[in-house]
Amino acid sequence: MEKLNTYRAGPDAEGRFGKFGGRFVAETLTPLVLDLAKEYEAAKKDKSFQEELDYYLKHYVGRPSPLYYAERLTDYVRDRAGKGKGAKIYFKRDELNHTGAHKINNCMGQILLARRMGKTRIIAETGAGQHGVASATVCARFGLPCVVYMGATDVERQKPNVFRMKLLGAEVRPVTSGRATLKDAMNEALRDWVTNVEDTFYIIGTAAGPHPYPMLVRDFQSVIGKESKEQMQEAEGRLPDVIMACIGGGSNAIGLFHPYLDDLDVEIIGVEAGGLGLETGEHAASLTGGRPGVLHGNRTYLLQDDDGQIKEAHSISAGLDYPGIGPEHAWLYETGRVSYVSATDKEALEMFQLCAKLEGIIPALEPAHALARAVEKAGEMSRDQILLMNMCGRGDKDVFSVMEMLEG
């Protein structure tokens, strides 16, 4: 591992984490992202902005989310592990947030920024629909019109969320280009933004995109890691030994990881979507299966061919179905501070059911990926150790599609 004084100093003034990140956007959008960076810096220094955000996080989102000792899952692991093995598994329960996932932490922050900047129209992209629902929700709360771009494939496999967004007053625009998933939705949202520069604020849902998005999404999601540190001190009197989260673009993961980056005794593991298996090429594991490139405003690891054409990602989980990853993860990967592994569609499906039966918690398919590696990892750790996993979303949105897969 590269030795640094701190892993928490990035990004630099140009929005770089090492060589990753940056501001690779069309000239039309450049003044907008520069303006947003300036406005965000001002908001960070403004005590009233933080107070307002804290107020809504507490009373509207329902924070802090609980830290929960998954006792039966731990027992399950210990029953199958070697003697003295089987770490205690904790969940950070961000699936209990209003709207059912961590996404609203970021949406609340960004809509307060949008209001501060006098923007009157909101656009967003969504994969699983969780970010779309969270965006539609905060727009309803603050009375702003909201357009959500969603790949046509995702519209089909995430019907409950599509209906939710409509109910919340948002307009859902299906995107048919490419494989009609998250990447294509993001292209279309960028096309909208470049056309409606005056009044529109683009709420990006993951810790990617042009600077300052990766930074501000991380900051708004860092509430996950910060709370968990305090809660873990209270529950166990110490920090966990291992923390884990699933990664598509990587917003819930960076939110959990960032406050721990300089606690070098804490091992940090990100779990990418392995799809049908890395060897098949049908996956969404940008770090393990990709190489550096430039897409959607930042340099990061991308799934691409020799000509630099972006490949379609594949995952059972619409929320992880993205051929890139946030630039800070790319940097953490190269520095070696965080290790990145993957879990397949099949493993995620198994965990989806296991967690429901053992803990009475139906996880979203996204954290079910993290769970697959967490259960395995806990089995290799000793009994007196602690593993913390971010349960970033609940599985209500997935029950119908999983039902079709299991019974259909």
Binding site: R23, E27, T28, L29, D184, N187, V194
Partner: protein, 335 residues
């Protein structure tokens, strides 16, 4: 404080350009632009160029072409086609026919899976090219092939950064220069990322064409023009390609502003679809870029032609001829 020496260096250059414009007129614009460029970038070839006029002879095809159109008091016509659309051979035939159809410069699209700034027409063109197996290497081969018959018409590649980055910037610039590429427009490389490709391109003798848009305000303009070369491309609307067009009065004001500030010729594009609009734009702009209309014509003929590539070629070239004539005749001066 750090900015001061730079400012001091720039000032005299600007004064010279201003004086030159006043006394000599439009022809000097591009020459002055070159001089400005040379001050900052070592170009060994240019210093050895002989000249028959009192000015250094234009060393680049782009500068030479704009000197010619300015002398003829007309705007340059710049058609855009997507390399490899609908296939390599057909796009090569179209490209080869463009100069005779009135093209003064050619913008050649580099296909990319995720063209964030393009409307449906050019998105579809890129997909057709990708489906037919087009790559950046093949696009350079296309230029090389074109150059066998045409040594004068400037070729500008327009695309997104990742294919160039995947090729390797240095290797690409070397191969592009050898193939006969004159300029690059890379949509997602704003001045903030100049170190990536703009500066290396200029060092390699390839112009890096800057985009200015309606969101480029006075505060930002110097940043956008800092390393501009060749010409400035004014995107007439905030939006994607082929959707709508800016108001003529607004465009004219923007062209004047950009010419004054940059000392470079100004091309206008995004949303110009008809000969009438091309003519209107050509009255103030130094160049008129038309892309989506040609690409749409290709797409519609393709459906009707059912694989007959000469029908596609002829149809695209005939629209190019209409647009070219309208552009050239706009100021009422015969060629």
């Amino acid at each position: 404080m750090a900015g001061k020496p730079g400012r001091r260096r720039r000032r005299p250059g600007f004064a010279v350009r201003k004086a030159a414009r006043k006394t000599i007129g439009p022809v000097s614009l591009c020459l002055a632009g070159r001089v400005r460029g040379r001050k900052r970038f070592f170009r060994p070839k240019s210093s050895t160029q002989s000249n028959s006029t009192e000015f250094a002879a234009p060393v680049t095809r782009i500068a030479a072409r704009f000197a010619k159109t300015a002398k003829e008091n007309r705007a340059a016509f710049v058609p855009f086609i997507m390399a490899g659309d609908p296939d390599y051979e057909t796009s090569l035939e179209i490209m080869k026919g463009l100069p005779a159809a009135g093209a003064d410069l050619i913008e050649l699209g580099v296909c990319f899976t995720d063209p964030m700034a393009d409307g449906p027409a050019i998105q579809a063109a890129g997909l057709r090219a990708l489906k037919a197996g087009q790559t950046l290497r093949k696009t350079l081969a296309l230029v090389r092939s074109f150059r066998e018959q045409d040594k004068a018409t400037p070729v500008i590649l327009m695309g997104y950064y990742n294919p160039f980055y995947a090729y390797g910037v240095e290797a690409f610039l070397k191969d592009a220069k050898e193939a006969g590429v004159d300029g690059l427009i890379v949509v997602d490389l704003p001045p903030e990322e100049d170190a990536e490709m703009c500066l290396p391109a200029r060092a390699a003798g390839i112009d890096f064409i800057r985009l200015a848009t309606p969101t480029t305000n006075d505060e930002r303009l110097p940043t956008v023009l800092r390393n501009a070369s060749g010409f400035v491309y004014y995107v007439s609307v905030a939006g994607i390609t082929g959707q709508k067009v800016g108001d003529a009065g607004v465009i004219e004001a923007a062209v004047t502003r950009l010419k004054t500030a940059s000392g470079l010729p100004v091309a206008v594009g995004f949303g110009i679809r008809t000969p009438e609009k091309a003519a209107e734009t050509a009255r103030s702009a130094d160049a008129v870029v038309v892309g989506s209309a040609l690409v749409d014509r290709l797409a519609s003929t393709l459906d009707a032609a059912r694989g007959k590539s000469d029908m596609v070629v002829n149809s695209v070239l005939s629209l190019a001829r209409e647009l070219g004539s309208a552009t050239h005749a706009a100021r009422g001066v015969k060629r």
